[in-house]
Symmetry: D2
Subunit: 341 residues, 4 copies
């Protein structure tokens, strides 16, 4: 199967290209970048020296791509730009996996509130939000798949099953996440200079982080009722990784064993979610470079809360690895194809 | 005035020695270390090369120190060991500022639960817990001062005034703190190797961190009633600094302006607590090497919570700088003496 | 083919296990560790959670391993210990790839001088030092292969062809290398604590680093005459990677083009050595996680020197990846099998 | 005495402001920044919160500054811009300490070759290059002092006395330096993003680094004859610090003891140069935040070379601390005033 990556100059685009070049069942046939058109991949992504199979960046022309013979496109573009490409590709019968936020939020009003006007609202009915381990049956038939964001992946995997099974309160949910700097993308801004970020831990985007729109919509779907959370994102002085810590009151009678049971029902047999033993906590260092989410839980008898922790690599399970996992499931490849190393 | 540092081989002892060597009003007359007795300070603390005034480590003999002419001792020892020294020094009329946990908790049962048997419970009446900006009047008359821990300092400074003024709920308080690795002390353990900690963010000590004993006792004093919190400490890949994020429901009618007003009443004119402007959040990088705590607050109309953030240098305002600040106030030196650079 | 890893508790053993688990043509049948015998791999190497194929560490019993059905053993042991295992395995017809220093130095006197008494000198005739891109024909017939050290790999790849072709002086060769902290192995020592190493760059092991024995013996072989170099190793505050900078006087008439020609003759078609374009310099960040060595050269008309630079991942091309590359070539697998991702 | 800092928005300007605010004998009366005019210092330099004495940035108007009552100006500007200000200030009788390169090189042709056209060559006769521990007598009478660059400071302090005393060869001098990222200044460029620099060690600026002009001119002055060196600068993943390693052939009969003797003659009694004991090597972590240079030497009987190492903080001894040290000496303050903490 022929695949293409549109907009590969960012960090997640770079990881996506590396994963697809090493994938046993697909041929990476086009990698686009307006900025780098004509250059060999390895000139822009030096980590690929000797491994880019001679590929060069091509220009990002939606019409030309729609007319070509590529079956599946990954959109690694800023929100807004992704919608524009989807608009050109879907009518041509192309399949699309979008890593941007454009089709993650089903409710248009919510999208508009957090991201501004939507550039292709008419496509929303063809789109599905797919966190593979949690997606409802039937998603494979949709031509446009929205891959989840990094923070949402780290929050939904541990929390959604517990809300679905009624084991935790829907109120007083407090989520604190700590992200590596690559989460900000390749943004050339003083705030992301090495000297500014090293030895620096800080909260940012309090109250209004855009991922809230996606997190709360999904939690609401799994809870069967609206869920409002406190989401406190932080920057940590590391390259990759998200560590998330969720504090939530236990539902009456809910036990730690019940939490673990809920997770086992949801994730047993799924290669990319690992439930840690009691007393262990996830560590971003152990998931870096993998498509895995490690999750753990503790019950605090003093407070009546569960403290739930998770760790992922924001660029892999939080973005490009998950997009490849979606492709694998969508097209009948082994779920782990190209994702174990 | 002559001062001594007992147990200066740890990170906070090292910072304490540097601060005292540069202090305009005191003479550092003794620095003890069983392990390093006889060595020049700068041989063990290379950062002091050319600045150690020829001082050498001396052995840690409580009786000899009690018999000497030093007026004030700083105890930079593990808990338990500190009590033993206090027992020898206080009867000799020495003043003591203890950086360990031994005299931070007034309730003996609580201390025992978190730290095990107390080695000098008979001294508790002579001891006072002193976070300078929050300590009740009259503490200067006590011969034995317990300097607060690092996490407690980052939590009590922003939260205590709000509980005292009834602006926040005493329930559903969730505290997440992110600490640099020096918070673990100079512990030679695989878990603290460079390769293990870099690129690693993780929660640890959930439910049972020892600082809980001190944090909740102090919050209870300021609230006038018992307070139980969820405290989630984390390790961040940095050398120094603590970033703390507190989520707490607003009391009925409490506003952001009321929070800021409470802080101004508590901290206006205090050089080492800075209230940030709306929209700013504290950054550990901006307090590293200073004795300052930066604090900020935001009100979330969606959740009804306040999100309160703070940052300190765990080795300075969280330990040694604060101990020097206590000395300055206790002995009538300018509060900032030796603490501005 | 069945392979085993003996002594997998260090950083290079960990990387080796990960590479072999993902290798398409071999079955990892035994992973030994005296310390961890009985534990699942992923309990000791959390990065392998969900990917360890249920393997557990087994005890390190040379006799039992010699009697078993494993064809090839990788020794990831300290020097000395490796020789002991080789002594048991070779007589049983096992093939051995040794990552330790025990069989890297052909001259026994040199080995003794740098490492102390050799525990299995009688095996030296069965051993060959194999840096795949530089090894002389016929090495595949030797049962005991010594894989090169990390510093030597970063130095020999760029320098050996130039000495062989007479393009550089054999005198006044100055090598400065900067290594990530993992190069010291999982050594639980105060010097390797996070707080000690971060923000720290320093020279160490000047004049007498053990790798000198191996580097100079190999350079002498390629030059056809003895070569003595100045080797200045340094520690850099990073996890992985070696950046090496070699300053060497140009031989009379030697040009930059001649250098590049020599490298092309040596490395064209070799997937794991990349020659950078003029003006570029290797960056450890671009080789981390790969088995690649990037090399570059510049000619300084002012000084008459060539300045030659290289970068590798010390745990991959500098250790475990290279060992897998050796296996691939030795047993007829594609050179890149299991080494591209 | 009243002092001013012109162009304080860079990293060295920031450190300079902090040092001058804490200096016991001078009043910081003006801090200029075109970009930040009108803002409080602590708004741009958050590390100064509560410590900026209410100062605000003022606009950079040379004429106004020349007409004012400030006695001494520090120029923390890019080269070229500094010359323009010097041109306005010197005729008004102001004293100037310039942290830029504009007046570091006495030979105009050399300056032009490395930096382009000089904007105020007529001022060169009024200027002196002052590395305090090495400056010839009489420099205090010059109105315009050029403070050395960071790399040159780390190289000249250990090497200049040895050339002066004829203990080392003037040929085959090879200098490798490793600098923290702040050495590049607050440059908003993709190359200096956190994600690009962490885990990255690499050589850069080979053959043609601008500091070569200053280093070789000064070495030539001390040697009494021209000196040409190989200078290989590198970037290390750290915030601050320079570690320099110099390899140089010993002069006939020169011994390690002679090296140490030469250094003692040059530096005994100087507070900011420390000679390490045999076997020790300087570590940037031990000089960070100090105005100290640590230097050490080893003699390699195998190669006949001395290997000489040094470490400084590039922003303190390599820039702003040294400028304050120059001021202290120039105006009769204690050499260490404001520089010990």
């Amino acid at each position: 199967m022929k695949v293409g990556v549109i907009g590969a100059s960012g960090y997640s685009g770079e990881v996506l290209v590396r994963l697809l070049l090493g994938h046993p069942s697909v041929a990476l046939s086009a990698v686009t970048s307006r900025q780098h058109a004509g250059k060999p991949l390895s000139q822009v992504i030096p980590a690929l020296r000797g491994q880019d199979k001679g590929l060069r960046f091509v220009d990002s022309d939606p019409a030309a791509l729609a007319a070509g013979d590529i079956d599946l496109f990954f959109l690694a573009l800023p929100h807004g730009a992704a919608a524009t490409f989807a608009r050109a590709l879907l009518p041509a019968g192309k399949k699309v996996i979008d890593l941007s936020a454009d089709f993650r939020v089903a409710d248009l009003a919510t999208y508009t509130k957090y991201y501004g006007e939507h550039r292709a609202p008419e496509l929303l009915p063809q789109a599905r939000y797919v966190l593979p381990e949690l997606a409802p049956d039937g998603w494979e038939s949709f031509p446009l798949i929205a891959a989840p964001g990094c923070y949402p992946t780290s929050i939904l995997l541990p929390l959604a099953p517990l809300l679905r099974d009624g084991l935790v309160s829907r109120e007083h949910i407090v989520v604190n996440s700590f992200s590596g700097v690559s989460g900000a993308g390749r943004k050339v801004d003083e705030a992301y200079l090495y000297v500014e970020r090293t030895e620096s831990a800080k909260a940012y985007g309090l109250l209004k982080h855009r991922h809230l729109s996606e997190i709360e919509e999904q939690l609401g779907i799994h809870a069967g009722r609206p869920v409002v959370i406190q989401f406190n994102p932080h920057l940590a002085p590391m390259r990759r990784g998200i560590a998330t810590t969720i504090t939530v009151p236990a539902a009456p009678g809910a036990t730690l064993e019940a939490i673990l049971g809920s997770w086992r029902r949801a994730y047993d047999g799924r290669p990319f979610v690992q439930i840690l033993a009691a007393g262990e906590t996830p560590d971003t260092a152990y998931v870096t470079g993998t498509n895995r989410a490690d999750i753990a839980a503790a019950h605090d008898a003093r407070t009546g809360n569960f403290v739930i922790t998770s760790a992922i690599d924001n660029l892999v399970k939080g973005a490009s690895g998950q997009a490849v996992q979606i492709m694998n499931l969508r097209f009948g490849f082994p779920e782990t194809a190209g994702l174990l190393h």
